[in-house]
Symmetry: C2
Subunit: 190 residues, 2 copies
DNA sequence: AAACTATGTTCAATATACTAAACATATACG
DNA sequence: CGTATATGTTTAGTATATTGAACATAGTTT
């Protein structure tokens, strides 16, 4: 960031996405309608406490309002050119799946970056027996269910599980979530 | 966060770590000494723009000052209890290495969370031939050198490289960095 | 000890964030 | 059409964030 963040557009975006009016957001956040209007048009330099109240009223984290436009995620390799990395990116039902690992490693070891919109879910069929998944939560909170077991993990947490059963990753919260996933296929096919 | 962030302690921590006086930070940030004093003792609710100036003066990101105490990173497993996950954590030369993967997977597939203090570096000897490392930058910017090649990657970026040569990950910036690392040993020992 | 320097705190003045109420504009409704 | 409702903007007043200067305190120097 070269300049102080202009958060007006961010707030407007979240408020619009939720279909909230200034009056409603004012009630929910405890910030006056007039102030909201001025902040959204960047006419004032709001206080941290005020922006925090607005974030709570919108159901997002303070960070989400302060972030400038998110930088594009880049994929690099120091390996010989033969091993090309992929830039595939699919979005389905509010879940964006970005494949980090090269195509040559498919069904061996795969790395993904998963971005969940609020209340988005990613269900998966059982994989080959012995397959495992390793999750590291980068942002937000998600709930993971694999067979009969489930766990709720949040930013910074790590979770591993066998995924040769039906398994689902769900973002039950009203805030976006980002998860790093490693899939390891049939590790012990000795 | 249940309450608006109290950022006084955070600023004091960074300022102390850099050995800066209020006067010096005032000059660097363009925020008056009086204001800095009051913010550090949480007597006022500073403006976002003001906190941003202070962050720039300290050479950190706005986020670093707003973060409350970072939650402890937890490690979970949905697998049978036989597969125990580790909680090992080593700090050396400003780099904290947290092993995420269980000990049973050592020298097969290993997952780490690396936290770099400003200007900290993690050099490594060559691993077995064919070994590869996969990095995803979670926070900040790091420079990776493997043999003759090198690249600078930032938050959100992904990088893979063969690490059967000497390789180093360095945080050259004045801000902390966090990197997710996957090490895959000898993938093609067919 | 007195005088000087360096650091952080408080004070009085000013700029501005923030609020409640009035205003503008549009759409629905009789 | 006129009235009512719903939305966002502007206005005037108040609370407070911010500042330069004075103050307090401790450590050094002579």
């Amino acid at each position: 960031m070269e300049n102080p963040p202009m958060i007006g557009k961010n707030i407007q975006k979240f408020r619009g996405a939720r279909g909230l009016t200034l009056n409603v957001l004012s009630e929910r956040s405890g910030v006056s309608k007039a102030m909201l209007s001025q902040i959204e048009s960047d006419k004032v330099n709001p206080t941290v406490a005020t922006v925090w109240k607005i974030a709570k009223g919108l159901g997002v984290e303070l960070q989400d309002l302060l972030d400038m436009e998110t930088q594009p995620k880049r994929i690099f390799s120091l390996n010989p050119a033969s091993e090309v990395t992929s830039k595939l990116e699919k979005t389905k039902n509010g879940v964006t799946i970005q494949i980090l690992s090269p195509l040559s490693m498919v069904e061996d070891l795969e790395l993904y970056l998963l971005t969940f919109e609020p209340h988005a879910s990613l269900p998966s069929e059982p994989h080959f027996p012995g397959t495992q998944e390793f999750l590291t939560v980068i942002k937000g909170t998600v709930k993971v269910t694999a067979g009969d077991n489930s766990a709720e993990i949040r930013k910074g947490d790590f979770l591993m599980y066998h995924c040769d059963v039906e398994h689902t990753i769900t973002n039950e919260s009203a805030q976006p979530a980002v998860v790093h996933m490693v899939v390891r296929y049939t590790p012990d096919r000795k």
